[in-house]
Symmetry: C2
Amino acid sequence: MKVSKLLGETMKQAPADCSIESQKIMVRGGYMKHMHNGIYSLFTPTRYITKKIENIIREEMDAIDGQEVLFPVVMPASLWRESGRYESIGKEMARFKDRSNNDMVLGMTHEEAAVHLAKNTAKSYAQYPFMIYQIQTKFRDEPRARGGLIRVREFTMKDAYSFHTSQEDLEDYYEKALEAYNRIFRRCGVKNFVAVKSDSGMMGGSISHEFMLLTDIGEDTLAICPECGYKANMEAADVYVENNRPSSGEYKKVNTPGTTTIESLHEFLKTSEDSMIKAVVYQRNLDDSYVVVFIRADLEVNETKLRNYLQSEVHAAVITEESGIVAGFIGPVNFKGNATVVYDSSIKGLKDASCGANEVDYHLTGVDVDRDLGDIETVDVAKIQAGFVCPGCGKKTITISNGIEIGNIFQLGTKYTKSMEMTYIDKDGIEKNPIMGCYGIGVGRLCASICEESHDEYGPIWPMSIAPWQVEICNLRPDNEEVNEYANKLYEDLKKAKVEVLYDDRVIRPGAMFADADLFGVPVRVIVSPKNMEKGVVELVYRDKTFKGEIPLDDAFESIKEHVKKLLSMYEE
Amino acid sequence: MKVSKLLGETMKQAPADCSIESQKIMVRGGYMKHMHNGIYSLFTPTRYITKKIENIIREEMDAIDGQEVLFPVVMPASLWRESGRYESIGKEMARFKDRSNNDMVLGMTHEEAAVHLAKNTAKSYAQYPFMIYQIQTKFRDEPRARGGLIRVREFTMKDAYSFHTSQEDLEDYYEKALEAYNRIFRRCGVKNFVAVKSDSGMMGGSISHEFMLLTDIGEDTLAICPECGYKANMEAADVYVENNRPSSGEYKKVNTPGTTTIESLHEFLKTSEDSMIKAVVYQRNLDDSYVVVFIRADLEVNETKLRNYLQSEVHAAVITEESGIVAGFIGPVNFKGNATVVYDSSIKGLKDASCGANEVDYHLTGVDVDRDLGDIETVDVAKIQAGFVCPGCGKKTITISNGIEIGNIFQLGTKYTKSMEMTYIDKDGIEKNPIMGCYGIGVGRLCASICEESHDEYGPIWPMSIAPWQVEICNLRPDNEEVNEYANKLYEDLKKAKVEVLYDDRVIRPGAMFADADLFGVPVRVIVSPKNMEKGVVELVYRDKTFKGEIPLDDAFESIKEHVKKLLSMYEE
């Protein structure tokens, strides 16, 4: 490919609305063009990168017996009504009516389509397990598209669906898929990634993992234990706290005028936050009914855990008088408000504690939770924090990191096969619902994440395995006959040898050419110039600066091929 | 791939609603699954075929300097308002509102997106010409989805857009694209296809060609001259007729009671249809205004030509009294109706003709068009018929055939670059609009068309270049240790040698296995059985029956590779 004909413009400055480095680089470097909120067209370099990523994914999916299929982007609502998600998913799903007035949706995930395809064709246990996957466009009407290809509304995704006759078989396959994902990311050149336990969200199911690229700009927050290797999305990490205070006899009611916040109560009582119980009040979205969470005052509520526990969406409450909830003075002892009460595990065993007295300007002190609340059910709805006890090894070693989700895998169970009535006949002649797993990778997001991890101030440093081109020839003087002839021949020879070459044949200043080359991020750069020709060499430099050398003109062709081979081999497994 | 694990069911009978052979075969053979009107999921064999077709297309597009890009499926209506097509396209385009109440559309073609991407990045004439293409999902809300993948609502398409600084340059490139298309179809194994001149329809522009697979089940009708090779879609073929009748003096008004049709007038006057002028009346969709076409009575109006001439959609008329049009007795002499009058070229030079007298129960005879109508503008809006004069060689040799459109190429001109204000600075410093061409191939339709052309009563006969697998091993006795061991090893060896093998390892009757093998349509079949093992051979047969032989067990591996190589070479160019 000649740069003179390559469509796409490089800019000195990224537009002001670019929020992260990879976005700035990919907009500046002519990788993509913004069309609408969260919707981009991709220029050729990006398409070349995503094709390579797609092929690596294909190879690894095929290696774990995946069968590539293709589901439609546009699906009838009827299919989504079968699973119940036509109603349960909100505005994220784009909907329209076709010319015959049928309700249609745009696929944001394809569990329903996978069951539709597999249903009636896998009726015998002998056909299990199997996995089908596709690489296809999806549309999710994200409220907050941001960060270029990191969070868009339209995206290309590999989504895979496996079907099993037992939980054990699913778990075996899940392990294989997890390993395949590790290979995919390593082969794509992702360096700093981890698989973390995660929340299943709208997918349903139980166990799930997210693959996270660790980076400060990540939107996800992870709890990681450097001691034992425990890793979880903060949304999903279990919280363990200790309550060691001794009991102090009967609780007392104390006049605490105006102390409606934990801070003011702390000031007033001179007691530590880990001996106070706070109340956090929510309302269910569905009917505005109240939910009161009692939690140790030094902790925060993890709303994802709360939602999963309640099985309903909630929002911060507006407390009315009729509710019987005494805002600012809510406490678990003799609470009489009209609300669902959730006791966080952190208050279990707490003694000599302070909390609201459910009466304006009064608190209780000396509360012993086990004694004064009786046999309550507690549940973990707390947010993990740095220095907390690691659920893996039990040491107080938890660290908090940010990450970008670059892939996820879910154990779905029978949520979809049950609701959509997919069955098979088992060995024993009994009709059963297959157990499913699903496995996703966003191709464009992975591309942008690699750029985010692998760049310098001048542009991306693409790993050889996914680079848009393997080699860039910089012809510094196309107007010099000798230089031009050599560079042209080298370009043609390399092309014939199936080396992927970008050839900058423009008559521009060397500085501008190198600046653009940095933005193209091609791993191996070959510089042909009059000065080099005089010395009888070409310069060869790596984009990542780990190599710089002069190669005799006659050896250049072979040497370049060797360098490409060497760099490619770094990503082979 | 082992058949025992391959998802997809083969059936003895296709469902009753399958209208053509390729659809029957592809539904029966587990190639696709119907999800909704014109919407299918594709099983693995089809995905393997379409991937190969896509790669052949990519190679040929890259060979004519195409740059692969990716446009979004979902686009903002604003982009389509710029070109004017948001209004001019009807229900074929799916529309919805996103969560922020923006009007969005699903791409059914991507001229707007191509101009959006190229605009501002190709500002200098030196960057021209260039061509960008994508392979992407499209949705077109077809009123009459039919024939399986032949006419669907959602489909995968390769669409390419070229940009030029002169009409000559466009025409040069257009020729190259035409050649690339010929290579694509030949390499995919299409045998009986032609490029025909066509109507540009909603794409706008002037010259265009369709690539047609000739087959009786085709929805398109083609005019082909076996003498000179002229080929055109009937929609676009020029019509030439001769009028040789001598004049017969002044015209006369004749009482012709009740003769409101050409047939009855023919009976009454005993004159031939090619000496009669009929009137065909339409109304414009926009305002119901009348359009009267005068055409020689033995010809039909080609409504596509009429629409293009009028630049508006029309429908058959309901004639009211106020219109001043005397239904059944309309004629060109002294016509006083309130209508746009269109004179078809066929009446030019017509003498001694009969036509309506614009008065109930009266016709004129002896009309001389040139004499009695004066200096009228005539235009060709007639439908070509078998035996008509060939516009290429002038002989009366036109034949009519049916075809399936498998690709099209258009010279678009500046329709989109003007309306969307895409400009470049020319050599002379003047700002100009680039001239565009566009080039489409539907991948799924091509796959189905190949099946339509290349099948027998038992299933498809896939050309080696696009076959889902190259070789199928039929293990007739997986329960026989010797047979099984040999077949397993052959399968593993071939897989290692990168031969694409489908391995039927099921314990089923040979008859059922062969029936399924016919439905898989794999070019080379290898049969491993106890009988063959005893003879020390495997049987090797071609799906197209052009080869059948016995190969010694030890030679099978090498021999199979040679057969694959030979068959592949048939499609190399």
